[in-house]
């Protein structure tokens, strides 16, 4: 039973990429913690449907996090990053009110960019 919950069912798939990322950036002292949740199926290309057909690979390949337009994280992902990827990083320097921009590009060339403000 648990096995089922590990994979998205049909209703859960595909719709989520249009969802905005959840970005939380909070300053404590001089360090800002940036947490990002991206909505993406992250299909490995190795998973089979119940009819035995392979589900084509579909996963985020690169992402970028910038604070006030300056890149702080350049990330690369393989298909083994979990579905709806969650990342957390720490950056020295950002202050409340600074703008955090996160963008990703997947293997099909689809893109998404979202913004948040440092709290």
């Amino acid at each position: 039973m648990r096995r089922l919950s590990a994979h998205p069912d049909e209703n859960d798939k595909g719709k989520n990429m249009a969802d905005p990322m959840k970005i939380r950036a909070t300053v404590s002292g001089d360090v800002c913690e940036i947490k990002v949740l991206m909505s993406h199926p992250m299909e490995t290309g190795q998973r089979k449907e119940s009819d035995g057909k392979l589900v084509p690979a579909h996963f985020i390949q690169t992402f970028n996090i910038a604070v006030n337009g300056k890149t702080v994280i350049d990330g690369g992902c393989g298909p083994s990053v979990s579905r709806n990827p969650v990342f957390a990083f720490k950056v020295k320097g950002p202050k409340a009110g600074d703008k955090v921009t996160v963008s990703w590009v997947d293997n099909l060339g689809e893109k998404r960019t979202d913004e948040a403000t440092v709290a």
Binding site: T44, N64, G76, S82, K92
Partner: protein
């Protein structure tokens, strides 16, 4: 202000000076596009290929990389991995799951004040070593931890 501008304009006349200015970080080219996808490293089918792909062919064992991952993962589809490097000059961190079909999971470059620390959720097909690699000043370091998976997260 004006003097700087003069110098810059003169510099542009001579490629050598311009290159020197870029090298010195005076004229840092603005990043517009995200870094290119490292296809070779991410599509490597074994650990050695993945390591080589990120320029870390023979990493040295280090206790200065702190790798946090569960001992046992009941659900291989979501295994939370945190890596923090205490090695001075760490510019990037990569996470490998040795027994996954393509071991390299994620690779992060730290720029402009980012601390060499990252958390990522990865899928694990089976019980495997997780290897965290840090690259500092062109040298590669590694630490590892075994995560037991009771239910895989990669197959069908």
């Amino acid at each position: 202000m004006d003097a700087t501008r003069r110098t810059l304009l003169k510099g542009i006349g001579s490629t050598g000076v311009l290159a020197a200015a870029i090298a010195a970080g005076v004229l840092r080219p603005t990043r517009v596009y995200a870094a290119e996808y490292n296809k070779v490293a991410f599509e490597a089918k074994d650990l050695a290929g993945g390591l080589k792909g990120i320029g870390a062919a023979s990493p040295v064992d280090s206790k200065d990389i702190v790798l946090t991952a569960p001992e046992i993962a009941e659900n291989g589809a979501v295994v939370s991995v945190t890596v923090a490097s205490k090695i001075p000059g760490t510019s990037s961190i990569a996470v490998f799951v040795e027994k996954n079909p393509m071991p390299l999971s994620a690779h992060f470059q730290f720029l402009n004040g980012a601390l060499p620390e990252a958390r990522v959720n990865v899928k694990m097909g089976q019980t495997s070593l997780i290897k965290a690699v840090a690259i500092a000043n062109g040298k590669a370091y590694v630490t590892q931890k075994e995560v037991k998976v009771t239910m895989g997260g990669c197959g069908g």
